[in-house]
Subunit: 279 residues, 2 copies
DNA sequence: TTCCATCAGT
DNA sequence: ACTGATGGAA
């Protein structure tokens, strides 16, 4: 028997919006600790890790560990039927092959329940080791999203030809961190772009700060399209944390207030010689 | 060496938005006087003339006259990466085939630079003679935009058939000026429309006035779709000036505070007989 | 291409 | 606080 009651239902809606572009099917794991998910994106390049701790739920009952395979598109469709102020309850009976989402309007005038079939999904649960990172950048999530979007537009010729679409998929961003700041760079058909954000802790609101913790300078290249996908999680948190080490996947983390986080992992591209890039 | 620093970067963003629908590629001319552009629209019917005087820049360095061919779509993409409060600097080295746009956030915490390739563009620079106009109308730019939009909707059947699209392209507006006011008229599928604006100088704010300077009455016909394109410049100025003479192109001018103007020139349609229009 | 949601401006 | 506009998703 599983019954998880989440007063701030919009959180769950936002979580789904933030990961469903990347992941189509995934196992949600429930334990006494919380409600979590770990899944590779469909092209097996990026990894998504979600945790909603049990303490964040108004009511959390999970008699035994349970792994529920869901199609995230279908789940997202159901969650869209919940109002933003609705209380969401997730229920599953032992041995059942379905899960039920229940939505209560704030006034209790409307109560909806949606039942969805579960799926069997193979998945190796990767242990993700804690690592020391060369550099950790914390910045406003909106600013990070804006930069990723701006840099994408540089590689976007507006051309709808397949060849150009491919370019867009391959467009890379170089993220370089020094003590002074973090630099995002790209090179596209119409030109090049560099955006530098200086460390800045002297702002009115702490969530507007850009904070850099650096042990050693680091410069890594990533596929920009994944970064852009990650920024779909911006509504979850006003800040984002980007943790970088050479030869390690970058971690882009959005904390979920009182509950946990969504983390995205992405392996860097191996830097090729300029000549190779040109060819 | 060219280096132009514009504190109110949003001006340049607005300028681009106002002309990029009409012109796809154009030469920007830099001289000690200022930063200017003159270009025909892609169908060679309308002419755009832009001037940003050097005095309007916080810093203006232009060692020698320079003509830089740019694709306005790409330039516009880059300028969209600038925040509305950013300071924009345009830079080009002598002999370089690129131009660099630099954007500084007001707090200086974010500095972006975008480099764009220049193009070779043939263009005859037309000398535009100063002329005496039969009538000059000054009115709020928002009102002019609203009228053009409203009149367009009369010719717009909402029908997406090619035949109807063609109608929309050919839809004409008659602008008639008398001492009493200015009249905008059109005739479309669903009916006819006349909007008369009376001279009116007794308003609270000068930018709300409608002022008519008239030497002799004039009535001219123009393609409405170009007028609608011109009104994209409305964000640049709260007033617009429309200068009319029979047999001369109309001039639709938006002044740019402290800096210059954007002017649009459009030749009148030769009035045909009513019968001919119907056929 | 159309519709919806989010953001900015009034 | 409301409306319009723009950008993203279906």
């Amino acid at each position: 028997m599983l019954e998880l009651r989440l007063v701030q239902g919009s959180l769950l809606k936002k979580v789904m919006e933030s990961i469903k572009e990347l992941v189509t099917d995934a196992n949600f794991d429930c334990s006494a600790t919380g409600f979590s998910l770990q899944a590779m994106d469909s092209s097996h390049v990026a990894l998504v890790s979600l945790l909603l701790r049990s303490e964040g739920f108004e009511h959390y009952r999970c008699d035994r560990n349970l792994s529920m395979g869901m199609n995230l598109n279908n789940m997202s469709k159901m969650l869209k039927c919940a109002g933003n102020d609705d209380i969401i309850t997730i229920k599953a009976d032992d041995g059942s092959d379905t899960v039920t989402f229940m939505f209560e309007s704030p006034t209790q005038d409307k109560i909806a329940d949606f039942e969805m079939k579960l799926m069997d999904i193979d998945s190796e649960h990767l242990g993700i080791p804690e690592a020391e990172y060369h550099a950790i950048v914390r910045m406003p999530s909106s600013e990070f999203a804006r930069i990723c979007k701006d840099l994408s537009s540089i590689g976007d010729t507006g051309d709808q030809k397949n060849e150009k679409l491919l370019d867009r998929l391959l467009l890379a961003v170089v993220i370089s961190v020094t003590k002074e700041g973090v630099k995002f760079s790209t090179r596209g058909d119409i030109g090049t772009a560099n955006v530098v954000c200086r460390q800045n802790t002297t702002v009115d609101k702490p969530e507007e700060a850009t904070i850099i913790e650096m042990n050693e300078p680091v410069s890594l290249t990533f596929a920009l399209r994944y970064m852009n996908s990650f920024t779909k999680a911006s509504p979850l948190s006003s800040t984002v944390t980007i943790s970088l080490s050479s030869e390690l996947p970058v971690v882009v983390e959005y904390k979920i207030a009182e509950m946990g986080y969504v983390r995205f992992y992405l392996a860097p591209k191996i830097e090729e010689d300029e000549e190779d890039n040109k060819s």
